[in-house]
Assembly symmetry: C2
Homo-oligomer: 333 residues x 2
DNA sequence: TTGTAAGCGTTATCAC
DNA sequence: GTGATAACGCTTACAA
């Protein structure tokens, strides 16, 4: 691999000038010299060594993204959107997949710190992410989900209002007149799970004579399908289900199909996230649409030029509720 | 952030010794000294700077993975599997998503070279990947799909036999007695697409009085659904479809649902890749199962200790054909 | 406008 | 068994 030294030698100049040319500064270069450098670089196929550059400058121009499960299309779409946004600012996105394991998340945390990413976008598998490690390493973090009171001091957050979204989705089901609804929540007692629960409860509390209950499952089609199959085969089969992720909702659709129930005639289903798959599921899935692109752009903005010393910010973005066939379409007025 | 210098100073020794301790070599260290270094490091929260280490050693212990579309679950599952395999050898996987764009793939190529990844696993969006760039940079590459004759000199490959797989899948449909079959291939004239085509043709050639044709679509549920909807609404509606990816097959399932066709009674569908979603689609999808885990392990093995000077290897792994409901189950004997 | 040289934080050679 | 010290490839004062 050719180095700046090789280029300088060939162009009959110094490494400093090579650097000036490739960075457009901090010193000017005579047009003729610049051209000689460019030619030499082209002939040698020179590419600056990012490692050496980062070591010298103290910035890697890379952003770490930790997602709980890259196999969940929502996180894949999120990664895509953030990469696009980061790319426009010349940043590289390092995608780290926790594979639903807190231990793996921890390993990635250390790995990203060692690799000196400039900042981190975090979607944690657990409710107790290791923000301290990033903080001590001087790496600013933005979480894309609600944070506990304690964690809000160490990291920023950017999220939608889960409670309002859950309430909206549940009210939609109630407006259809479905007399029994179930909340299919994620596993564990995260801040997010609590907010889903609160929104669901609030909606139910505002309705008369509705039978409501809650179950949990891991965030995957398969586990949700298992839980749903048991639920739907039981004596008290609910008329509607609000799922806290699309993946779980797809699992419920599958369970209904297995049992021979028709959606939405026998069972109404609502998801959450708004992945593109909602448009081509059988049937098309009613869901809470996350503002993925806007979130991606905003998170990159927030991180640009931010340091750990800066006061964390906590922003809420709007969501959109999209009624489709799986819940019987738009609720009657 | 504490440096080796800080640790050395505190432990009353030199940076060399700190390095010896943290690398278990290449020189021995007296137990007492070692302990002093360890203590000092712990007190300062010292973590070696991976950048500096890589610059000095010339190895980054990272593998680049370029996938065409991280939103396609097959590639997400593949990334997961490779990351697992790479992790066991202490390597970090950098996931780069081309977003179905050759230009983006090209950018990632340059980016990975700049970041000095030790090696690259490539799934290209195009049939003309930029292997030369990696070759010149001294970075060994393994492609996870068939390569053209020209490219086989510059990179290794590890893949299943697409032609045999396509033939097997098509024969399965014919054995069910479906009299008209369609090949839903990917876009473009890639080596892979040609192999799918060849296998399909070979199977059809071995059958009597079968109506066969071929269509193409991009690799996404939505595009495949559009293509399929037109195909299935036409006058010559086929009885069975062999899709070269699961994603396309899911699109076909959706199109059938929209039109009111029942799968497999009105239309049989076979996919390719064997993503986990095949088990929870409506109905469960018959597919060619790629040996994802084995492929991941093997690709990491191949790359370990390989240099560009080494002669490329080209290996074929076995696949498994899995008959499920979408094609009417196992073919009659 | 250009060159020299001192970092950036490691590793590893070579004396002691 | 340890400690100077020269790389690794780049950036950027500072000098010329």
């Amino acid at each position: 691999m050719a180095t700046a030294r090789d280029v300088a030698r060939r162009a009959g100049t110094s490494t400093a000038v090579v650097s000036y040319v490739f960075n457009d500064g901090p010193r000017g270069v005579a047009p003729a010299t610049r051209q000689k450098v460019l030619d030499a670089a082209a002939e040698l196929g020179y590419r600056p060594n990012a490692l050496a550059r980062s070591l010298s400058r103290g910035r890697t121009h890379s952003i770490g993204l930790i997602v709980p499960d890259i196999c969940n299309p929502y996180f894949a779409e999120l990664a895509r959107a953030i990469e696009d946004a980061a790319g426009t600012t010349g940043n590289l996105l390092l995608i780290a997949d926790s594979a639903l394991s807190a231990a793996q998340e921890r390993r990635h945390t250390l790995s990203l710190i060692e690799r000196q990413v400039d900042s981190v976008v975090l979607v944690s598998v657990s409710d107790e992410p290791d923000l301290g490690a990033f903080f001590e390493a001087g790496i600013p973090v933005v979480a894309l989900h609600p944070l506990s009171e304690r964690d809000r001091r160490h990291a920023s957050s950017l999220t939608i209002d889960y409670e309002a979204a859950a309430q909206r989705a549940t009210e939609h089901l109630l407006a259809h007149g479905y007399g029994s609804v179930v909340l299919l929540n994620g596993p564990g007692e995260s801040t997010g799970a609590r907010q889903h629960r609160a929104g669901f409860d609030r909606a139910v509390a505002g309705a008369e004579g509705v039978r409501a209950s809650a179950v949990r499952s891991e965030i995957s089609r398969h586990r949700a399908a298992e839980v749903a199959e048991e639920l739907l085969s039981g004596p008290e089969r609910p008329r509607a289900v609000y799922c806290t992720t699309d993946e779980q909702a797809f699992g419920v659709l599958y369970a209904a199909h297995r049992i021979g129930l028709t959606v939405p005639d026998d069972l109404a289903v609502v998801g959450f996230d708004g992945t593109r798959n909602c448009l081509v599921s059988i049937p098309a899935l009613t869901t809470v649409q996350q503002p993925t692109e806007a979130m991606a752009r905003r998170v990159v903005e927030i991180l640009a030029g931010r340091t750990v010393e800066d006061e964390p910010v906590h922003e809420i973005l709007g969501f959109e509720f999209v009624a489709r066939e799986s819940s019987g379409g738009p609720a009657p007025a």
